[in-house]
Amino acid sequence: MSHDKTMQPKSGKFDLGAIGRRDMLGLGLGFGLTTMAASTFGFPAWAQTDAAATPPSKPTGVVVVGLSQEPVSFHPLMPGVEVDEIIWTNIFSSLWVAQPDGSLKPDLAIEVPSVENGGIAEGGLLWTVRLRDDVTWHDGKPFTAEDVKYSLELINQEGFRSRTRVGHSLLGEITVVGPHEISWRMTEAFSPYLALLANTHMVPRHLLEGEADQNSTAFGGQPVGTGPFKWDTRTPGDNITLAANETYHGDGPYLDQAVLKYVPDMTSLYAQFQTGQVDMVIISGIPQNFYAEAKNLPDREVFIAPSGNIELVMPNLDHPALREKPVRQALYYAMNKQVIIDAIYYGVPTVTESFSPRESWAYNPNLPAHVYDPEKANALLDEAGWVRGDGGMRSKDGVPLAFQISTTTGNQLREQVQQFLMQDWAAIGVALSINNMPAAVIWGDFYVRSQFESLLVGTSFRTGVDPDPAARFASTAIPLKGGSGGNYMQWQNAEADALMKEGQASFDQERRREIYHRLQEIVREELPILPIWQYAPVEGYKKGLVGFAPNINQRQNAWNMGSWFWGS
């Protein structure tokens, strides 16, 4: 699960889910991903316009990538956020890489192990991977199976602050079969491990083994990998320069340098994109209010990048008023979604009724369309016994129809939406108040322990690239009630539970499509979430850049800088 907190605010404040925090391959629910991934999304062919251009024979040119957050965490096995992954995916290599179409492409490995090719044996308990023999670290040392063994062991090493041990904790004995072949045993079969390894980057044993404190190493400040780019220089608070790795084992790199430029203010970032000081704006994107203007910029490609995230109002169903379905329905009717999209978001995003992205095969296009109808909303509330009192605000049995809505402080567009909702909902007698908090506070216990009354949030309801939303909707996924998922609104619905259970067990895509269509209908009817629109970050790059390939299966679109080059 992931929660996109949208539209990064201006400088400084971190917004956990800056746009583009895509969901990577999911966790927890293991079943064959690879087979289905390919059919997850289809992509427009924008990146192919210049496909005819040929890359230069020798790395030339520079690309300046504009970011509104500063990459600071360079050790690929330690905690980090999307911007850090730009460093990881370009300096380091993983065994295989998730492609835009959802497939895994071998990188350090010669092939992706499978039951068919014998790489996964004994019912998923024994894995064997053969490695390329032509890979060298940026310092010239050869890459071997020892490095893989070291990397995997480091993740589980006591005291090492590894980002995650999901999957890795199931590792048993790791055997270096030969310099370029490794095998390991797992304590239980766990097929998502394949996908997890696509985002596990290998670190050099020869540089790290001697370090006394693995949490703080020279390597962490000056990473050495096997990727298409080498670490060059860093001006803290300003930029990081990567240089071409001419001995890269794959195709490319074609660029001489890649500069990651940190401009903490989205407006300034756009201004610098306009003036050409940065060649591209990704992740946080271009503020929507500039979209119309940006589209017409000469020599710039500006587009709405795909995203699986949905912007929505998330009610806490434990709230005395919000737990009532008519209340939620009335709120939904009284929400002028089109104005929000058109006026506040400049018409950039697309309105949606579903928790599923429209590109998904599981998307249900036949959901009842939302109508802005305050009359209907009033009628629903009247019927449900919420009567208007002094000042026109409703209450029932002494319970006022009042609740708070929260989001990250400083996110101006969301703040505007909140204020707009206040006015819309006040008209039907609902007293909404705003209680925003800094990101470090709101996404802590307040969120995961369901302490909020309602949230304005951008998040996704998938498991990796699979449409299964059980982690978000299942009644077993309520953390407050001992669950392990992200059902923070605390929705419980027997029919939905049953459907999701069936969906997880089935390998029949047609059957699953039916299941998820029905589930979407239930959610649309019950409104455990009030969907507004599907995410649409505005990204852009300078014309002439070839190879840019937005990848919904990565967390950032600079994942393949090694294949980029400037066309004529």
Binding site: P9, K10, G12, K13, D265, M266, T267, P287, N289, V339, A343, I344, T409, G410, Q412, E415, Q416, Q418, Q419, F420, M422, Q423, I434, N435, N436, M437, P438, A440, V441
Partner: protein, 292 residues
Amino acid sequence: MATIQAIPISRSFLEGAVVKRFLSHRLATFGLATILLLTLACIVGPWLLPFTDVYIDMMQRFAAPFSGWHVLGTDAMGRDTLARLLMAGRISLSIGFSAMVVSMIIGLCVGLIAGFYGGILGTVLMRFVDAMLCFPSIFLLLAISALISPSVPAIVLLIAMTSWMEVARVVEAQTRSLKTREFTLAAQSYGAGGFRLMLREILPNAVAPIVVAATLNVANAILAESYISFLGFGIQPPTPSWGNMLNSAQTYLTSAPWLAIVPGLAITLAVTSFNFLGDGLRDALDPRADQP
């Protein structure tokens, strides 16, 4: 022996002179007048306007100033900038005043106690003041703002907590000096106790610098509110304050500059006025001018 007549000057000489000196300070008079006008406008203004500060009209967004009914234009949600400016003034000015009151209370207590009793207690208190002053004010504001949820009372407290130290210093120095003045010694020698000395002898004579400090404190509190709001830790919408109006105007600096210019001018005007007022009061209350 003949009875000597007191110099025949009216009793209100002192007060009269202060008022006169103050009024002769043109900038201070300007400051006072502006403050009164601003306050009046913020209190009365919102009732006179045809728009409320929260009325959203998406059809009217980004109306330029002097176009139609919106004298100062509208913001990104079509709300009337003037109405918001005046409502924001209520908030910003009340924050300024309240923060001043709280910080004065803290500063007075600490300063009086430290200055009067001195010794270890005084040293400990004043070292604490010194330590607080080691933090650049904005750093301190931001660090503490992480502690609190940004409601109006919390912001008041936050600003007060970072601005009482100067007051404490001023009061401490005054107290220390007044404690050794002859009239205090005289009171001490006829048996006046500690509280009486502090409240009856020392405090009334420290009024001038305290009043000046209070005035300047209001100015600084208004500024501080705008800083924390600008940096995103301030008053949350929909409550408007001058600071958060500026904060949300940044995005539209190029397309709707008036959204940034108007509240900025309001802050500058209010703060300048308080500074002028403080300056004038300082001159008018200067104890040196009391003596022939």
